[in-house]
Symmetry: C2
Subunit: 296 residues, 2 copies
């Protein structure tokens, strides 16, 4: 592979400054040079480790601050080993990968919380959130920004997680059913923001996403695998906090209140390194993913 | 597969009205019921048929009205059978699949047009476009809409094609190089609109997208396949107009000036069928793909 081919598209993404004292010119440069103070540990009880056929590992970060009842159910289901032996049953191109119990007969563990459409957004009428604003227009919400490591869309009374690439939501039946959390999906295409506030968003995939996004698409209605196609077995799904310490993965997210994140956002919206002629002057909420890394 | 599982997410996408006289309640319903007058044939000289390993067929619709010089080159390259024996060399998750000559030594056919960054957008200073406006906010452009079957972003002086899912762009070296059209990529994730006006967009994939989007991701820098990974052979790439009539596929796109398209846009922005509780009241330019179908 020659330099030219590698350079063809977005070589500048991985460019580093000529002198260490230069401020980073790219979002990736900002992430690479961010000081340790710009990073926050993600708690082990917020990490789900899903292992699928072939031993491939997918790590999901839960968002208990936004979807507390669904997240409580998901933790209970993981602790009951409920997903072990279930499967990935649906892969619809430019939309979602969905997993759960294809038989729809597996009993639920006791003690799950009831859920309702009220759980799809956080009321902010009597609550002040520390928001890092994203000062660009959005087709789906009056304002957007970042809160506690997460992108949020907001109106005057509520804040909610958007359906961005890699975000995880809860399958449900027709309203007022809001899903238990047992049937999950993740977004593998353009952000289907029309689902925001119509479905619970409970987290995001922070490692192993390509093991889901590259699965064969299903040829049935809505991308469900047909009986002739291969449902992908889920071998296990565990909370990191339930694993022995030596087996736990450790991740950090960038502090959205840090100067590094401000630099990152500014450069995501204004690419002007060697590759770019014309900075956009804006960036979509789903096109400025909060940086996450393995703890060094 | 029971009804309930299929219903879990977006069952309403395929719902049909109870009575034929009911207006369609979903975008898919509008498309299914659109009269023949709402559809326009796509010219055979705008269709590229790419056949990859395993005989999988991908169909690309070219956009000569927006990128005439790059499209002329792409047609010349196809007519020279230039891509036959080249390969897909890069698959970067949530970004692009890229194909072309991995050796970077294959000679170009004679007569290609020179290209420049001026080719990335259409000047509209002295030109009136027939625009179907999309009246929702966009983070990247002052206005957006649809022109001649294509989504467009606009400012006061120019109109350009956005980098939406499945859209095809031209790889290039550092500016002022604008690429010949020989190195192509398509978007497989959240629309990377920061590339708009920094790269030529020349078309979109209208059939066979999942044969690209489900490819294994490359583990090299920027998703390039490493020497240990499998570059996917391109068996042939032809203009439909160069195929015998019996082998040509025939596609239609929805007329963006038709009442059907207006209904489609309204429902994409305001989902309020059985599945949805809360219409978004807006839709992103890349989340309202112009309907395309095989000619019935």
């Amino acid at each position: 592979m020659t330099h030219r081919l590698r350079a063809l598209l977005l070589a500048a993404l991985v460019a580093t400054p000529v002198f260490a004292a230069d401020p980073p010119a790219t979002p990736a440069g900002v992430v690479a040079q961010a000081p340790s103070s710009a990073w926050q540990a993600i708690p082990a009880e917020d990490l789900l480790i899903m292992t699928i056929e072939g031993g491939k590992r997918i790590v999901i970060q839960l968002a208990p601050a936004f979807s507390p009842r669904h997240v409580a159910n998901i933790r209970a289901l993981a602790q009951a080993h409920w997903w072990d032996g279930t499967s990935i049953n649906r892969v619809q191109d430019n939309y979602v990968v969905q997993w759960g119990d294809a038989t729809e007969k597996k009993p639920m563990p006791p003690g799950l919380s009831p859920t309702s459409p009220d759980d799809y957004a956080l009321s902010i009428t009597n609550r002040r959130l520390a928001v890092t604003p994203l000062p660009y227009a959005d087709a789906y919400a009056p304002t957007t920004g970042f809160v506690g490591g997460w992108p949020v869309a907001m109106d005057g009374s509520a804040a909610w997680l958007p359906h961005c690439y890699g975000y995880v939501g809860v399958g449900r039946n027709l309203s007022p059913d809001a899903g238990t959390g047992a049937e999950l999906y993740t977004v593998i295409g353009q952000a289907p923001r029309q689902l925001d506030r119509n479905i619970a968003v409970v987290g995001r995939i922070i490692d192993g996403m390509s093991s889901l996004s590259s699965l064969p698409r299903g040829s049935g209605d809505l991308g469900f695998y047909t009986p002739q196609e291969h449902q992908v077995p889920i071998l296990s799904l565990r909370l990191a906090s339930d694993l022995p310490e030596a087996q736990r993965p450790h991740f950090q997210q960038m502090d959205v209140a840090s100067p590094s994140f401000a630099d990152y956002l500014r450069l995501r919206a204004n690419r002007k390194d060697d590759f770019y002629d014309r900075p956009a002057g804006g960036v979509d909420l789903c096109n400025a993913p909060v940086p996450v890394r393995l703890t060094p």
